[in-house]
C-alpha cells in the first residue's frame, strides 16, 4: 500500500488549548494531511483559533472528556472516508514531523494500531521529563495490562497513536471515557487487533493545563482496575446504529 493513496486524518482533541493550538496547527498543515480539531466545550478561544487556522472544528456543546472527544474524531473520519487516523494531543506535546514514524507500520500492514512511545527500552526519549504521579500511574497500567493480556506496552498513557480504518471504526462504536488509553489497548487486544509501539520524542506542554492532576493520578489505579474489570467481564451491549 502506498501512503499517497491513503487518506490520513489528524484528530486533535482539545480542551482550553488556545495557546498551543496555533503553532501545532501550523506544523500539522506542513505535513499535508487533513486535520480536525475536536473542541471539548472549551471556555477559551480554542474554537476560534482553530477556525482561524482554516481547520474543521467539531465543537462539543458539553464536555465529554478525552474519550468522548477522540471518539467524535473517529466518527468524523469514518463518515468522511479516511483510511488512517492519527491522534494528536492539542497541547503541542506531539511533534507532527514524526507522523510518518507511526503511520508507516499501518501503511505496510504490520499493525492496526501504532503507539508513539517515549519509554521503549531500546530508544527511550531521555529528553522527556515525566511527572512522578503520572509515571506511577503509567507503570501501574502497564503492569495490569500485561497481567490481563500478556501485551507489553511501555507507554500506555501515550495519546500519540495511529489507527487503521478497521481499528478506528471499532472505536467509533464504543470507546472508554476518562483516561481511556490503557482501556482502549485492552479493547483492541480483545477484539484481535495488532498493537505495536514505535519510538517517538515528545515535547513539554506549550500551554494549557494537564488533565492528569495529582488527585486524578491518585485515583487512576482504581479507575484502571474498575475499567479493566468492566471490559473483562462485560456482556455484549448496544452499539451505535
Amino acid at each position: 500500500m502506498s501512503n499517497e493513496i491513503l487518506k490520513v486524518l489528524i484528530v486533535i482533541p482539545s480542551h482550553n488549548e488556545e495557546e498551543s493550538l496555533p503553532s501545532l496547527l501550523d506544523e500539522v498543515k506542513r505535513t499535508g494531511c487533513d486535520a480536525v480539531v475536536v473542541n471539548d466545550a472549551s471556555s477559551d478561544a480554542t474554537e476560534q483559533v482553530a477556525r482561524a487556522a482554516g481547520v474543521p472544528v467539531l465543537s462539543l456543546p458539553v464536555n465529554l472528556g478525552i474519550g468522548g472527544g477522540v471518539q467524535t474524531g473517529f466518527l468524523y473520519a469514518l463518515r468522511n472516508g479516511y483510511d488512517i487516523v492519527v491522534q494528536v494531543d492539542g497541547d503541542g506535546q506531539h511533534d507532527p514531523s514524526q507522523f510518518q514514524t507511526i503511520i508507516a507500520p499501518i501503511v505496510t500492514g504490520e499493525a492496526d494500531c501504532v503507539i508513539g512511545s517515549r519509554y521503549l527500552p531500546k530508544a527511550p526519549d531521555s529528553s522527556y521529563s515525566t511527572p512522578f504521579a503520572r509515571r506511577m500511574g503509567m507503570y501501574f497500567s502497564t503492569g495490569i495490562l500485561y497481567l490481563a493480556t500478556g501485551l507489553r506496552v511501555h507507554d500506555t498513557t501515550s495519546g500519540f497513536r495511529a489507527l487503521n480504518r478497521a481499528a478506528f471504526s471499532f472505536f467509533a462504536t464504543e470507546y472508554p471515557v476518562d483516561h481511556p488509553e490503557a482501556e482502549a489497548l485492552l479493547m483492541l487486544h480483545q477484539a484481535g487487533f495488532r498493537v505495536i509501539e514505535r519510538p517517538v520524542r515528545m515535547r513539554c506542554r506549550s500551554g494549557g493545563q494537564s488533565l492528569f492532576t495529582f488527585v486524578r493520578a491518585m485515583l487512576y489505579p482504581l479507575r484502571v482496575i474498575v475499567g479493566f474489570m468492566g471490559l473483562l467481564y462485560k456482556t455484549p451491549r448496544r452499539t451505535r446504529a
Binding site: 465543537s59 462539543l60 458539553v62 468522548g68 467524535t72 466518527l75
Partner: protein, 121 residues
Amino acid sequence: MMSTSFTLQSICLGVLALLFFYTLWLMRSGRLNAHVTVRWILAEGAAFLAVLLWQWLPLFGFTSTLGDRELLMVLAVVFFALIAFLMLDCLVRISTHTHQVKLLTQELALLRELVESGVRD
C-alpha cells in the same frame, strides 16, 4: 398516657408520610420520573407497613435472643440493601442518559461541522 413505643411509632409514621407526600410532589412537579417514583413509593409503602405492624413482625420477635445492638445491625443492613437497590436502579438510568447525551452531543458536533462545511463550499 401514651406509651413510648406508640409515640415512636407515630413519629416514624409521620416522617414516612412526609416522605411519601414529598415524593408525590416531586413527581407532580415533573422533577421525578414516574418510573423511578413507583419504586420509591413501593419502598416507602413497605417501610410504612413495617412500622405500622412492627409488633407483629417476626423480625422484632428476635429481640430477646439477638439483643438491641444485633437487631439494630440487622435493620441497618436491610435498610442499606434497600437503599442500595434503589440507588443502583437510579444509577443505571443515569448511565443510560449519560450515554444518550454523549451520542447526541457527538451527533450535534458532527452535524454542525457538516452544515458549516456546506456553507464554506
